[in-house]
C-alpha cells in the first residue's frame, strides 16, 4: 500500500513534465494567438487531462501588471472546462463557471499576491481513458495596460 502511494505521488510530479512536451504544438496554435496585445509570460502550463480530472497551479501576481489567463482544451474534451482562481487564503477571485465558461479572463492585481489556479475538466460520462491537452497560457501588460 505504501509503495502504491509513493508511485502515485511520484507520478503526480513526473506527469506534468511528460505532458508538457506533447501539448506544445496545441498551445502554440490555439492558445497563444488569443494573447492579442498581451505578452506571453514565460512558460505556459500544459497537461494531458481526461474527464473528471483537475490540476492545481501556483502563481504569483505582481501589483500593477494586468494578466490575461487563457484556458484551452483540445478536441475530444468537454467544452466547459472550468478554471477558478483563489487567493492564498482560498477566497475566490474568479470562477469561469459563473461567467459562461469563458476561456479568457483579464485581471489586474491591486497587490502582489500568491494565487492558486484550479483547472477542472468536467465529468460528462465520456470515456475516462481519453486524454487530451489542456493548457493555461498567461499574458502580461504593463501598468496602464496600454502596451509600452
Amino acid at each position: 500500500m505504501k509503495k502504491i502511494k509513493l508511485i502515485v505521488l511520484a507520478l503526480i510530479i513526473i506527469f506534468p513534465i511528460i505532458s508538457y512536451a506533447q501539448c506544445k504544438e496545441f498551445t502554440e496554435s490555439t492558445a497563444i494567438p488569443l494573447l492579442d496585445d498581451f505578452i506571453l509570460s514565460g512558460r505556459y502550463n500544459s497537461l494531458k487531462m481526461g474527464e473528471g480530472e483537475q490540476i492545481l497551479i501556483f502563481k504569483t501576481l505582481n501589483k500593477g501588471i494586468t494578466y490575461r489567463f487563457i484556458i484551452c482544451g483540445e478536441t475530444g474534451l468537454p467544452d466547459n472546462i472550468e478554471f477558478e482562481i483563489l487567493d492564498w487564503e482560498d477566497n475566490l477571485i474568479y470562477n469561469n463557471k459563473s461567467d459562461s465558461y469563458k476561456k479568457i479572463w483579464d485581471y489586474k492585481s491591486s497587490s502582489t499576491q500568491r494565487i492558486k489556479i484550479v483547472i477542472k475538466v468536467p465529468d460528462e460520462g465520456g470515456d475516462a481513458t481519453v486524454k487530451a491537452c489542456v493548457t493555461l497560457v498567461t499574458g502580461i501588460k504593463n501598468l496602464e495596460g496600454g502596451g509600452f
Binding site: 506571453l40 512558460r43 500568491r114 498567461t138
Partner: protein, 273 residues
C-alpha cells in the same frame, strides 16, 4: 531518501492548502458558498501540481513600473559568455542574460539588446537548444529594434522555447536553472537599484518583498529535480535566502536589508563567475 523528500513535499503543500479559510466572494463581491470540503476535494483530486514562475520580461516590466533608471554597470558583461563551460553555468547565465536583455530592451538600449541576444544565442547553442534562438531571431531583433512590444514578444518566445526544448528532451533540470537565473537576476537588479536607502522607493521595495512568493514557487519547481546534485545545491542556497527574506518584515530594517542584499549578491556572483 528520495521517497521521503517527495512525501515531505506533498505534506508541505497539503498543510498549506488544508489550513485555509473557505468563505469566498466572486469578482463583484457577491458571496459564493464554497465549502471547505469543496476546496479540499479540489486539491485532493488534483492530478498534478504545477508552478508558474514570472518570466524575465515580467520582472523587467515590474521594474519599469517602479520608475527605476537603466544602469548598464549592473548587467552581467557579455564578455563573460566564453567563461561558462558547465551546462549548469550555461543554463543559469542564459536566464541571467535573458533578464538583462529584457531590462535593456525595456529601457530602449538597442545595441545592448542586440549584444545580449547574441550572447544568449551562444549559450543556447552550446546547450544544444536547437532553433530556440536562430539567426532569424537575431535578424528579427535588429529589424524590430525600435518596436519595444515586438522585441518583448521575441524575448518571451525565445525564453519559452529554450525552457520547453529542454523539457521535451528530458533535461528539465536545466530548464529550471534557466528560470532560476532569470529570477535571481531580476532580484539582483531590484536590490541594486534600490541601493542603501530602502525607503527611497516604496514601489521597488514592495516589488522586492513580493518576490518572496516567487521564491516559494521557485524552490517548489527546483525540488522536482533536486535529485540532481547541482540542483540540490541551488535549492539549499535558495532556502538560506528564504530565511533571510522572512526577516524582512515592514517596516524594513536597513541592517536586515543589507544582509539580505548581500546574500542576493553572493548568490548571483556564484552564478556568473
Amino acid at each position: 531518501m528520495k521517497h521521503v523528500k517527495i512525501i515531505l513535499n506533498c505534506l508541505f503543500i497539503s498543510l498549506i492548502l488544508f489550513g485555509c479559510k473557505s468563505n469566498n466572494k466572486d469578482a463583484d463581491g457577491n458571496e459564493i458558498k464554497i465549502t471547505k470540503e469543496d476546496i479540499e476535494n479540489s486539491y485532493d483530486q488534483a492530478q498534478a501540481i504545477l508552478y508558474s514562475l514570472p518570466s524575465p520580461v515580467e520582472t523587467a516590466m515590474i521594474l519599469e513600473s517602479a520608475g527605476v533608471e537603466f544602469n548598464p554597470s549592473l548587467l552581467n558583461p557579455v564578455s563573460n559568455v566564453n567563461d561558462y563551460t558547465s551546462n549548469k553555468k550555461k543554463a543559469l547565465n542564459l536566464g541571467i542574460y535573458s533578464a538583462d536583455l529584457s531590462y535593456a530592451s525595456l529601457f530602449d538600449q538597442q545595441q545592448i539588446t542586440i549584444n545580449y541576444m547574441a550572447a544568449s544565442k551562444k549559450l543556447a547553442d552550446q546547450l544544444g537548444i536547437l532553433d530556440a534562438i536562430s539567426d532569424t531571431t537575431l535578424q528579427k531583433i535588429e529589424d524590430n529594434i525600435s518596436d519595444k512590444n515586438e522585441i518583448m514578444n521575441i524575448i518571451s518566445e525565445t525564453f519559452m522555447n529554450s525552457s520547453s526544448y529542454l523539457e521535451e528532451n528530458n533535461r528539465g533540470e536545466l530548464s529550471s536553472m534557466i528560470i532560476l537565473g532569470g529570477w535571481i537576476e531580476g532580484l539582483y537588479l531590484s536590490v541594486k537599484l534600490i541601493g542603501d536607502d530602502v525607503k527611497s522607493n516604496k514601489d521597488l521595495l514592495d516589488i522586492i518583498l513580493g518576490q518572496q512568493f516567487s521564491l516559494e514557487d521557485m524552490i517548489g519547481l527546483l525540488e522536482y529535480y533536486q535529485d540532481y546534485k547541482e540542483v540540490g545545491l541551488l535549492v539549499a542556497e535558495l532556502k538560506e535566502l528564504k530565511i533571510m527574506f522572512e526577516k524582512l518584515e515592514e517596516p524594513v530594517n536597513s541592517k536586515e536589508f543589507e544582509l539580505f542584499s548581500q546574500k542576493v549578491n553572493d548568490i548571483r556572483t556564484g552564478y556568473i563567475e
